[in-house]
Amino acid sequence: MVATEGPTIRERAALMLGRAAGTAARRFGRGGGTALPGLVAGALAPSLLERLAQQSGQGVVTVTGTNGKTTTTHLIASILRAHGVDPLTNPSGSNLERGLVVAYVEAAEPGGRIADAASRVGVFEVDEAVLARLFPRLRPRVAVFLNLFRDQLDRYGEVDSVGEGWGGMLASADPGCTLVLNADDPSIAQLAAETRAQILTFGIDDREVRLAQADHASDARFCRCGGRFAYEAIFMGHVGIWACTSCGERRPNPRVSARRIELSAEGSRVEVSIDGALVTLEIPMAGLYSVYNALAAAAAAHALGVPVTTIARAIADAGPAFGRQERFEVDGRSVRVLLAKNPAGMNELLRALVAGSRDSQPVHLLAMLNDGIQDGQDVSWIYDADIEVLAGRDVTVTCSGDRADDFALRWHLAGIDPAAVIPDTEAALDAALGRTPRGARLDVVATYTAMIDVREALARRAGVGSYWEVAR
């Protein structure tokens, strides 16, 4: 058990050494990753995680799910800042234990305490596979569950094992904890049955934005009773207005609900009811998946007592999270970076690219596929993505990345032959920019490590901050 006073000598030493490791890693440039200080400090004092939770005087918010963690965490932190609360948060994408410890290393004063700890809220994205281990140690006040899609099966094994690991954690959740659940994802909504915690649901109540036909990449087709789900409307993947054909369980009515949604390739305008209070959200990020992220963030902030007007203002003013629809001006072109790491995410961003635009509107793309550990070594998933949604449009695509040839084949089979196949990032970027007219937009769709590479190249060309300056 951790003492309730200040950090121990051991913890202070661990924080100091972690900070030194971070300074050293940055001196050697990128490659060490933002995780090194956390690895060092966490190894020296495993109790740092509990201490971090304790130093977040106003409690901890966790954000988990396959897609949208980084953006949702970023939005919650932005809302809290607008509300006058300084959040403690982990560097984007660094969502294992060591990533959380980094937040502590970065925020701690030499004595190991965090300034104004009593008034701070911890807002942490947590990898879905490690949540069960971290949940009892962080004891979150609000836990956000976004969705559960197939993702990197080479790392997680099978989709089912992720959700199954959450049972014990939820059964022992504090009754005072609020679980913010996506009502439209049955694998998330059904978690409510496993806990005594408070439940706050969010979802979409606008049938106009439903898909004409189901995505291929649907994962939770079967109810926990074994029955099959039927959908009144599907919004993405297996996410929609569902009911079990066997036991009759159905999607709960969301308390945070999107009533009217206008989508465009730039962003969305959404009428939202938050426990009956109506508000219009201007979401400066494209795609229905961004609407879900904004609803989740609004629900979490509502659970923390932030007024609805503050939530709306903060979301409208929020910039993109790192590598998630970030924009760069390069050579008179607007370049937008979109992270795609699994079929459901890829489908959503392909749809977002053409949302509200005419079929004849040209689309300029740089499509980058890497196969590192963080990307998923198995590139099969590109066949579960519905690249075909762009077939028949005026699409110019340059394929790049370590698996450029695999990606080019996928586009070819979807009926869109790439204009060029160039594994090297800089050369591919030159080619893609060359094929994009001045004044037009180039969209870069990239897996994680490819996104890091191309973002670095774009930041240099656009003269803005590098990875280290932004993500630290």
Partner: protein
């Protein structure tokens, strides 16, 4: 372009709404595109739980699933075993990947210890090893043991260890990766024109020689060997060839060279 006779193949996809965990749908996408290049029309009948099998098929496809999904279909698939075996005896082309391969064998004992009956197309049996045993995950390169096809390349991700019975031949010999069980160097199984394998990636898109082999076998089944309808030309497949070569390089670089286990 010489004029070709109008021709088509009848394709049955089995449980493609349940068994599709490793993007095996890519096999059907590649089949449609490649068949069109050969001037072959593809008529697909999707057969899932409760649906009847059509009277005939020239090509059968089944993909992989998790244990939960395999349990859902196993009994019904086993009941279809006699029909599927008769099709295989009659030279219908088949491709069964991963979980589908396991259930096309005699039986599969899953991680919970439950023994699932198989369709028995292949004389193979599969055991899920105890907890603690590592899954076989990674890039794989293997030398195909069927005519006109050399290396096949893909990605494997399976817990189950499959062993060939006396009536089974391996589909391929592992060069890099693990294959059926990581011990004997065999990968998959072949019976007449039916292939079972652990390779996804997806398999058919980036193994154009194997894809053509299956299309040719399906055409022979439909029209008879030696007929003009059954003939396919050698056509280039530049995107597929490049992806094939790139994937081979990845397997050689990243996966262990296969060494047989001496017991």
């Amino acid at each position: 372009m010489t004029s070709k006779p109008a021709r088509s193949i009848r394709v049955v996809t089995l449980y493609d709404d349940v068994m599709n965990v490793y993007a095996d749908r890519g096999n059907e996408i590649a089949l449609r595109v490649r068949a069109a290049e050969h001037g072959v029309n593809v008529e697909v009948t999707s057969v899932s739980l409760g649906d009847p099998l059509p009277a005939e098929a020239d090509l059968v496809l089944i993909g992989g699933g998790q244990d939960r999904e395999q349990r859902r279909i196993a009994d019904e698939l086993a009941a279809r075993g006699p029909a599927l075996r008769a099709w295989a005896e009659d030279d219908t082309a088949m491709l069964a990947v991963c979980g589908g391969f396991q259930l096309f064998g005699r039986w599969y004992r899953d991680a919970s210890g439950t023994e699932l009956p198989g369709a028995g197309v292949f004389d193979v049996t599969t055991l899920a090893p105890g907890p603690g045993a590592a899954r076989c995950i990674g890039d794989i390169l293997a030398a195909a043991q069927i005519e006109g096809v050399r290396e096949v390349v893909g990605f494997e991700n399976h817990g189950g260890r499959t062993y060939l019975g006396p009536g089974a031949r391996p589909f391929a010999r592992v060069e890099y990766g693990r294959g059926n069980n990581g011990e004997d160097g065999t990968e998959g199984a072949v019976f007449r024109n039916a292939i079972g394998t652990y390779l996804h990636g997806s398999l058919l898109p980036k193994n154009p020689a194997l894809l053509d082999w299956l299309i040719a076998a399906a055409l022979r089944h439909r029209y008879g060997a030696g007929t003009p309808e059954a003939h396919i030309d050698m056509l280039p497949a530049p995107y597929a060839e490049r992806a094939h070569a790139a994937s081979m390089a990845v397997a050689r670089r990243r996966s262990p060279k296969f060494e047989p286990v001496v017991k």
